[in-house]
Amino acid sequence: MVPRKFEYFAPTSLKDATSLLKKHGSDAKVLAGGMSLIPVMKLRLGSPAYIVDINRIPGLDYIKVAGKSVSIGALTRHHTIETSKLVRDKLGILAETAGWIGDPQVRNMGTIGGSLSHCDPSGDWGAAILAVRGSVRVKGPSKERVLEIDDFLVDTFTSALKDDEILTEVSVPLPPPRSGGAYVKLERRSGDFATAAVAVQVSLDAKGVCSYAGIGLTALGSKNLRASKAEAALLGNPLTAKAIEEAAEAAAEDAQPTPDPLRGSAEYKTEMARVYTKRGIELAVQRAKKVK
């Protein structure tokens, strides 16, 4: 379990980090929490010649309200998000998602920016950020871009990041009153990657009609998917048991799972998409009704 040799850099500014990435191109990799990259290097599934450790760059680890959004620095650890009072109060779905990731030691190191950049279709963050329609800020040597999460998640282990870009911030709009969210996950055993998981965020208007619906899927496609048909089934409707059942059926159509020899056939996963979407919506609605 010894990775191949590499050269290690620990720059202390984004400018230095991006110029190192530019210089070394696809031979270089950013190191954040290392909870995906280091296992990959140890198994020699990937052997970057240059490692650019961004942990010594100050100012990438924060959670704050900025205007009408909550901004989360890319280096913020899963555990910090899980236990943040701000997140729990304003965007409970994110704290709940963080708590489902791996185990406590993984959550102490792993970062939200690393997870999203890694683009693992079984990763939990992508689905949650789809559900809340977040965006990401990425910085290159000369310019900065902001991308909607739908455009950032491209394919299996493929994000929209260029070789010389670093994800610096995740930004999520603050939900209106009467909003609620849930992350529901089926796993073989505690700490495992999802067999299937669903992120749901809803808002209700004063009459109980659904004014916002966001649904993201984990381990149900070649990347974290938006369940668009399921969202459409909720939006503009009162969230009756029938409407929820229809949305759950629609989520099973949105899901595009590939069979996984470890975690279940495509048929099984599709059925779990339905079951877990139903449970997720029910929980999110319950929570939306309690929030003033």
Partner: protein, 166 residues
Amino acid sequence: MAKASKQTVSEGLQRVTLTINGKSYSRDVEPRLLLVHFIRDVAELTGTHVGCETSNCGACTIILNGKSVKSCTMFAVQAAGAKIETIEGLAKDGELHPIQNAFWENHGLQCGFCTPGMIMQAYWLLKENPNPTDDEIRMGLTGNLCRCTGYQNIVKSVRAAAKEMR
């Protein structure tokens, strides 16, 4: 985290200086050296175990700047400047730490291979949450595998330690 040593010492090696249990260690190492091997082979503190080397078992759990981490899933160079605590640092003046004592009293170990990691993880858990429920203890230890005890006595030990430490 403290400043990294930028100095490149000799071809391919990098100077890593860090503190383990209050004592400073410095060595020129390859960047690919895992932290657990720095701890075991350079610092010669073999209490921290290597179980799976695949980030699953938690036998290599240590405390890095106050947080529990799996030292097999981190390079030593990442820990330059860090303050590390390992199982060897818990007993003070020949007195077992209350968590160690509780594992002893409650048969929280059989072969003992998982124990250093279990105890370091429990140590972090009880700092975060001094009064955990049994469920919280179990969730707090999901990153640590034990092949012997069936976990019952580990949970019991952590519960007893929590009571003792409050």
